[in-house]
């Protein structure tokens, strides 16, 4: 009972230029959508993936990020032997006190960026199990040595094995390069926490502490204890939760991106509508003939709707292909939450591609709906008369 698909397909091909231009418009909108979503996915992934599910981050009460947090030594001492914290082979607790500090680094090619230098102890490598040293070695304690995250290599001056970095007030030798599974740690420089404290001259304190949970331990109980114990009196949160909140900027970008894409889509839909209306009016006689032959009004409407859909889907696929080259493209972004620069890569995920196709289909349906309805509503007699 349906009008054959080849009718629609060939009709699209016959008016080549019109089809190409309308399709082009839709394809571009889809490409923009994919690019923006890929950016959001990349940002999200870099930030959110920084956490480990079995880690807790402890910061000052009322602070929202480690950037604006301060913890004193006695608080750390009171916390580190709590039972829920995992111990290493030697029995030492896997509790990592950390002090991230923003420092200006020279970019290759000129200019400076704020980069996080994280003061840590060697236990940090055990607590942050996604971090692996891929070249060189870990820094020695109490010496001005640092390891540099992979994301900085090639982007900033002297981020090479063996080079000397001038950071803060001192010179630091780069003794290792580390990989952190694409997370935000890869945009950091890690050095001995005591050396960092000395350099900033703000006294001996920590910004935050990372604790590794014993498998099966009661996380909620630990967090409660950290808050309730008057000697600790801090705020704990699982790392994944913490980083999800940090990714607020990615969410804002997603909202902005969706707004732009939707507004563009409206423009493309108007264009598609114009094209389909023109098609309907050019093919009035054909429509009349089909109806006269016995195709139901619904069949005619479905046919034109299908034609719009076919065009939109094809355009959607082209749009995705157009945007594909951006997959894996790595760039930097100024994260004002941590007040430092973050390296991330665009990610075109399968989910994004699916969403893009659906987006294209929606554009096709909206663009084709009214013209298709008009085709359906034509009186056969009038349609045949307009020769």
């Amino acid at each position: 009972m349906a009008v054959p698909l080849k009718y629609n397909l060939r009709s699209l091909l016959v008016r080549r230029i019109s089809t190409a231009m309308t399709g082009g418009g839709i394809a571009l909108v889809v490409a923009v959508f994919v690019i923006v979503m890929a950016m959001v996915a990349g940002l999200n992934s870099t930030i959110s993936d920084t956490g480990s599910p079995d880690n807790i981050i402890v910061i000052r009460r009322g602070a929202t990020t480690e950037t604006y947090s301060a913890i004193q030594l006695p608080q750390f001492d009171a916390m580190k032997f709590l039972p829920q914290i995992k111990r290493d082979q030697g029995g030492a607790p896997m509790a990592s006190p950390e002090l991230p500090v923003q420092m200006l680094m020279q970019k290759v090619g000129g200019g400076t960026d704020n980069i996080v230098m994280r003061g840590v102890l060697p236990v940090a490598l055990e607590v942050h199990d996604k971090v692996h040293i891929t070249a060189g070695r870990m820094f020695k304690p109490a010496v001005n040595e640092v390891i540099v995250g992979k994301g900085l290599v090639g982007r900033y001056e002297n981020c090479k094995l063996g080079s000397t970095l001038h950071l803060g007030r001192g010179n630091w030798k780069v003794v290792g390069i580390f990989d952190a599974a694409g997370s935000s740690f890869e945009s950091e420089v890690w050095g001995d926490i005591h050396n960092v404290q000395d350099d900033t001259q703000r006294g001996a304190y920590y910004a935050d502490v990372r604790l590794k949970l014993l498998p099966g331990a009661d996380q909620a109980a630990l967090i409660q204890r950290i808050a309730d114990d008057p000697q600790i009196n801090l705020q704990g949160e699982s790392e994944p939760d913490y980083y999800k909140e940090q990714a607020v900027v990615a969410n804002q970008m997603r909202v902005l991106g969706m707004i732009v894409a939707i507004i563009m889509a409206v423009g493309a839909i108007f264009g598609a509508m114009n094209t389909m209306y023109a098609a309907v009016s050019t093919r009035t006689t054909e429509i009349g003939t089909l109806r006269a032959l016995g195709f139901s009004p619904a069949a005619v409407m479905t046919s034109f709707l299908t034609e719009a859909l076919m065009l939109a889907l094809a355009a959607g696929i082209i749009g995705i292909i157009l945007a594909m080259p951006i997959d894996g493209l790595s760039t930097t972004f100024g994260n004002f939450v941590t007040f430092s620069t973050l390296a991330f890569s665009f990610q075109v995920t399968p989910r994004i591609m699916l969403e893009a196709i659906i987006f294209a289909a929606v554009m096709g349906v909206f663009g084709g709906w009214l013209p298709a309805r008009q085709a359906m509503r034509m009186r056969v007699v009038d349609a045949l008369r307009s020769v």
Partner: protein
């Protein structure tokens, strides 16, 4: 309305509005066409002949009066049912052929069959037969733009008969053709009528048509002005009495 006639119009009136004006296309027309006839509806421009044809073909509704085709009353049918009814019972031939330009001759003739339950192989059979009947079996895969006017009309006729309809309805089928092609088409239609006993109702102002049909219905200003036997009927009668 119990009717043995192929076409039965009973006191049909058709008026429609053009802006503020009311135009009366048909004014109380009653016509009964027996089965198996090849008839013409003729008259000057504006006489209502196309309107009458549209009513018979089920693509228009009368303002008042009743219409029955092949014994079935279609006056009150809803559009969706009417569409299905047309697919089964009516074969349409238009002045400007109205072939779908993006489909081949074969595919154009196949179109009405897509509205049936026939399988692909069966459809192919019917289409090939229809095209053979009109003499265009060798042009199945041509597109309308690759055919001459006469050939296009033949394809259109093939399309009209492929579902074995109750009646074939033709609106100025020779209107756009040169003399030779027009004669060919009229001859073809006679063959269809004689060999396959198809009832054919044709609207035309082509005077040649009178030679081919059994009956001529004359319309003037929406009113049935006269019914005459066509030359064919007369010559058949003449033969009979000879």
């Amino acid at each position: 309305m119990d009717s043995k006639f192929a076409v039965d119009l009973e006191h049909v009136v058709r008026t429609y509005k053009r802006d503020e004006f009311e135009v009366q296309a048909l004014d109380d027309v009653s016509v009964q066409v027996p089965e198996g006839r090849f008839v013409a509806i003729m008259g000057p421009s504006g006489s209502g002949k196309t309107t009458m044809l549209n009513l018979i073909a089920g693509i228009d509704h009368p303002t008042s009066g009743r219409v029955a085709v092949g014994g079935e009353e279609i006056t009150g049918m809803k559009e969706r049912d009417l569409a299905a009814w047309r697919a089964r019972h009516i074969g349409l031939v238009f002045q400007f052929y109205n072939l779908i330009p993006v489909l081949t001759a074969f595919e154009n003739v196949e179109l009405p069959l897509l509205l049936t339950n026939l399988g692909k192989a069966e459809r192919r059979e019917h289409v090939e037969t229809a095209l053979k009947v009109v003499g265009l079996a060798d042009r199945m895969d041509h597109y309308p733009r690759q055919l001459s006017g006469g050939q296009e009309q033949r394809v259109a006729i093939a399309r009209a008969i492929v579902t074995d309809p109750t009646i074939v309805v033709a609106d100025e089928p020779t209107g756009d053709l040169d003399a030779k092609s027009a004669e060919d088409i009229l001859g073809l239609m006679v063959d269809l009528n004689q060999q396959f006993h198809k009832t054919i109702v044709m609207v035309t102002h082509d005077p040649r048509a009178e030679r081919y049909v059994d009956t001529v219905y004359r319309l003037d200003k929406g009113v049935l002005a006269g019914v005459e036997p066509g030359k064919r009927a007369r010559s058949a009668a003449a033969e009979a009495s000879a």
